[in-house]
């Protein structure tokens, strides 16, 4: 595990000397800054931090963090990250990816990395568009959306990243708007603390090719009414006036107003992110109103590398082989004189 450190870093320690080249106004700047602020608070040594990315706008991220990093190839960041973590489980490994990178070309690696549950952190920059190739629809683009590759409207129904992730048995899933830096910093710290694969979906506005795609949820004027920020152990309450809430009605979530029809705060669902059964988390990620943000699921169990290490320790305790020569000269050998 990462050793606790005495040296105190500031965000500058994690800023590389490279000029940041995203479009002006891109949410990526917010995410980068939030990360550079979060890293010094994580208690990990700078040299133990590794950022791995695939291809796409978001995947330039590792160049801007002054730690170890690799800008990989399209869709493969999950597999590269897995190799890094398996080779050295003491590292803090961050995978940076986008909706095209992880949900299209890298879809296979994405579901399997979630299934295996290595102690990795994944940040999925979802902007519902291909940015770097200049504006084609992605697997999260909406039906009917007009893009460079769907001039008459997109006819491919989208993935919902949270639904897909939970289907692949993600142990940690959080969602956040790209314009909430404070919460983001905190969330990154929480993700690092979590033992297992943490997936954070950031609703990241692309100012050039899909500007305003999340405004209906993320705009400051409507944010509190359109989003519910979930916290473990707290009632599901939202709204500018804190007067709205969520209850369970049969097999469906229902939005209620506190004070109407005799509803009180005690009637609201209490968020249990740590519950093993993910049925409620599935319902929450699918809600269109309000949009569930914050840590939706956070269920810890043994990590893949832990299970591997346990087995290795067991085998090493009983094995008669410690050097390769023990193996080579064991069993059925014979002498030629």
């Amino acid at each position: 595990m990462e050793a606790t450190i005495e040296k105190k870093y500031t965000f500058k320690d994690f800023a590389s000397d490279q000029e940041v080249r995203w479009c002006p106004g891109c949410d990526d700047y917010v995410i980068l800054r939030a990360m550079q602020k979060a890293l010094p608070e994580m208690g990990v040594k700078k040299e133990d931090v590794v950022f791995i990315s695939g291809i796409g706008c978001s995947s330039r991220f590792p160049y801007y963090i002054d730690s170890y990093g690799m800008h990989g190839i399209h869709g493969r960041a999950a597999a590269i990250s897995s190799g890094v973590k398996l080779a050295n489980p003491d590292l803090s490994v961050w995978m940076i990816t986008g909706d095209g990178d992880s949900l299209a070309i890298g879809g296979n690696h994405f579901i399997h990395v979630l299934r295996r549950n290595l102690d990795l952190n994944i940040i999925l920059f979802n902007n519902e568009i291909y940015g770097l190739t200049k504006g084609q629809f992605s697997p999260t683009s909406l039906l009917g959306q007009k893009t460079k590759s769907s001039p008459f409207g997109n006819t491919q129904p989208p993935f919902q990243p949270g639904e897909l992730a939970l289907g692949a048995r993600a142990r940690f899933f959080a969602r956040l708007g790209g314009n909430t830096p404070k919460e983001m910093t905190q969330l990154f710290i929480e993700a690092e603390k979590f033992k297992g694969t943490s997936l954070i979906e950031i609703l990241q506005n692309c100012v050039i090719f899909n500007d305003g795609c999340f405004t209906q949820y993320t705009d400051k004027a409507v944010r509190d009414d359109k989003q519910i920020f979930l916290e473990h152990g707290k009632p599901m309450i939202f709204g500018k006036e804190k007067d709205k809430g969520i209850v369970l009605n049969g097999l469906k979530l229902e939005i209620v107003t506190i004070g109407e029809n005799g509803i009180t705060q005690e009637d609201l669902l209490v968020h249990d992110a740590k519950c093993e059964d993910n049925t409620m988390h599935q319902m929450l990620v699918k809600l269109e109103y309000p949009l569930a943000t914050g840590i939706i699921r956070s269920f810890e169990e043994d990590t893949f590398e832990y299970r591997e290490q346990q087995l290795t320790d067991e085998v090493q305790k009983t094995s008669k082989f410690s050097k390769v020569d023990d193996l080579f000269f064991s069993g059925e050998t014979y002498e030629v004189n």
Binding site: V49, F51, Y68, N88, H112, L311
Partner: protein, 614 residues
């Protein structure tokens, strides 16, 4: 007609054939191991269908195991058979043409039923219609005799019938004067917890042995004496196991942990099977979700400081192409093993071919040179797996190691190498006290970059697939820099020629014909050229293990011969490379793409013709 050379008298080729569920591979392996312990030199060739249990009795479901034992040096599993053991009509039909005229065929007559004859597409019973008159056929009702031997043991019928292969093995042991102890011990170990099965198999083996002995059906005239092999401790290995062990040795020698990222594919999977066993050495064998994850997890592990390898076969290498380019661009040490099989596409998964050479050399986008080397025998898979690791680590580049289904599944005696016999591996790892602070600082001699791994304070850096500045490693689109980096990556691989052995010509180093090969055809070419020299021809054999780069003296070796012929199990891939590199030489070609290894007999005849031509 019967002009058999001395060498032939000292060696025997035996093939066991039957249904894919008949246990022919086990029978062959047991005979191999026993003969090796007896002191014979050996080469084997398992040949089986890709279906796990093909329909019983069908022609395409025949599984075979060929073994060549000798009191002289054996370098191939042999061409023609001295003895064929056929457990059913389909096995007889598909293998008869390989039996030498006048030689022996043992058949299980119980399996020559009307139904089985039909399945094997026989119009009449070959045991009755005179079609086997040119052979010495030994008819044994093996299934009935097996049942009789086991009647008091209380085994179920399926287990009884399944052990008839041991009856055949027992007979062959008696014929070749082999001891049964090895196999009897094997039963005890293998069926430790099922003693009744162990007892049953032992009974049947002995029944076969005593059957052959008591009824004196077979003259005991085939003794093959122990061969004169160099002194030492040996074991029988197949190429895949020895490839895995070469990596184990390289990890220990370099002081690194071994990481394998792999996805199952025939015929490479046995390397994964072997390495997953070795957690005691700290081996991290990761079965990935696909071929691409196999290689990219390997790249991640290499970035983090492991000796990282991935294993695959032809179609998998195609899938890994882009990622190998990333490893080349980031200049990370990874080894990619391609156990070649018949192609293209899915091709012939269980058969052998050498048709991935050009893919290994050029199968990536952009200017993307990597080291390409090839093992040439089951035993030296160990050495080339070790060398692939050494070259990758010392030169900071991907290395593609080519083997093939023939040497991967074939086995032979291996004079065991201790870790102390292996050369040093000096990794390019640097620590925070190093003078170098830039990731692309290079060694002046090898041009290989330093290896600063995560966890090393002060050397934090980023790598990636985008072109990098020659000093800082930052992304660079500068035209001159790209040209410089392209050339330096090329030259880095070319300079590996300074660190590999010279090419040599076996038998003679000048003469009338030079036979050129690479990889797994070593045995057949060596036998062929040996026979020609024995008959007074001046023929050399030059075999490539290092293909990119090639040994520095290559042109010189070629120039000493009047004719040169490049022999490959493809349509001319090495020939294509050589023709581009050595344009002054007129290369002839000898090619075969049948999914089978070369036939020594055919090559000897062909090369004699060439030698006669002016």
């Amino acid at each position: 007609m019967k002009s058999i050379g001395t060498e032939d008298l000292n060696s025997v080729v035996i093939r066991f054939v039957g249904d894919s569920g008949d246990g022919m591979q086990l029978t062959g392996t047991q005979f191999t191991d026993t003969s090796a312990m007896f002191g014979n030199d050996i080469a084997t060739f398992p040949n089986y269908p890709s279906e796990i249990r093909a329909p019983q009795g069908s022609l395409y479901g025949v599984s075979g195991f060929q073994v060549h034992i000798g009191s002289v040096e054996i370098s191939t599993p042999g061409d023609d058979l001295d003895l064929l053991v056929a457990m059913n009509p389909a096995g007889l039909k598909t293998n008869l043409s390989a039996v030498k005229a006048g030689h022996t065929i043992i058949v299980d007559t119980d399996s020559f039923t009307k139904k089985n004859l039909q399945k094997a597409e026989y119009q009449t019973n070959p045991l009755e219609d005179g079609s086997l008159d040119n052979f010495r056929v030994i008819e044994v009702s093996m299934t009935s005799l097996t049942k009789e031997a086991l009647k008091d043991l209380g085994l179920d019928n399926k287990s009884v019938v399944r052990s008839k292969n041991m009856f055949a093995l027992g007979m062959v042991y008696w014929m070749y004067d082999r001891d049964m102890d090895h196999t009897l011990n094997f039963f005890e170990q293998k069926f430790k917890y099922k003693p009744i099965i162990a007892e049953g198999n032992a009974k049947v083996l002995k029944a076969g042995f005593f059957f052959a002995e008591t009824l004196e059906l077979i003259p005991n005239s085939y003794t093959v004496a122990p061969s004169k092999m160099p002194k030492g401790t040996y074991r029988i290995v197949n190429g895949n196991t020895n490839t895995a062990w070469g990596f184990l040795a390289a990890a220990e020698k370099s002081g690194l942990e071994l990481f394998l990222g792999s996805y199952p594919i025939t015929p490479a999977t046995d390397i994964l099977h072997e390495l997953v066993k070795h957690k005691h050495f700290g081996v991290k064998a990761f079965q990935a979700e696909d071929e691409i994850a196999g290689v990219t997890s390997t790249i991640g592990a290499s970035f983090a400081g492991d000796l990282a390898i991935t294993t695959t076969s032809g179609p998998g290498l195609a899938l890994k192409g882009e990622a190998i380019g990333l490893a080349m661009m980031t200049e990370l040490p990874v080894v990619i093993v391609n156990v070649q099989r018949g192609g293209p596409s899915t091709g012939l998964p269980t058969k052998t071919e050498q048709s991935d050479l050009l893919q290994a050399m050029y199968g990536r986008n952009g200017e993307s040179p990597v080291i390409v080397i090839a093992a040439s025998t089951p035993a030296n898979c160990f050495d080339y797996a070790f060398m692939a690791s050494k070259l990758a680590l010392e030169h900071m580049t991907p290395v593609i190691l080519l083997t093939d289904g023939y040497i991967a599944n074939g086995s032979e005696p291996w004079k065991i190498k201790s870790i102390n016999d292996m050369p040093e591996i000096k990794t390019r790892l640097v620590d925070g006290n190093s003078e170098s602070t830039h990731p692309y600082d290079r060694d002046n001699e090898t041009l290989s970059r330093n290896w600063a791994i995560p966890g090393t304070p002060g050397l934090e850096h980023r790598v990636g697939g985008l072109e990098k500045d020659k000093v800082t490693g930052n992304v660079s689109y500068v035209p001159d820099n790209h040209e410089y980096m392209t050339k330096i990556r090329q030259e880095k691989v070319e300079r590996v020629a300074n660190y590999i052995p010279d090419l040599k010509s076996d038998f003679v180093d000048e003469g009338d014909l030079l036979v050129i090969g690479w990889g797994g055809t070593y045995g057949s070419l060596h036998s062929t050229v040996g026979k020609l020299n024995h008959q007074g021809y001046k023929v050399g054999h030059a075999h490539f293990n290092y293909i990119n780069p090639m040994p520095k003296n290559t042109a010189e070796v070629f120039s000493k011969f009047k004719k040169v012929i490049v022999c490959e199990l493809n349509t001319g891939q090495l020939a294509f490379v050589l023709k581009g590199k050595y344009q002054e030489i007129d290369f002839m070609q000898y090619n075969q793409v049948s999914g089978l290894p070369f036939s020594v007999t055919k090559m000897v005849a062909k090369f004699k013709d060439i030698l006669k031509e002016e």
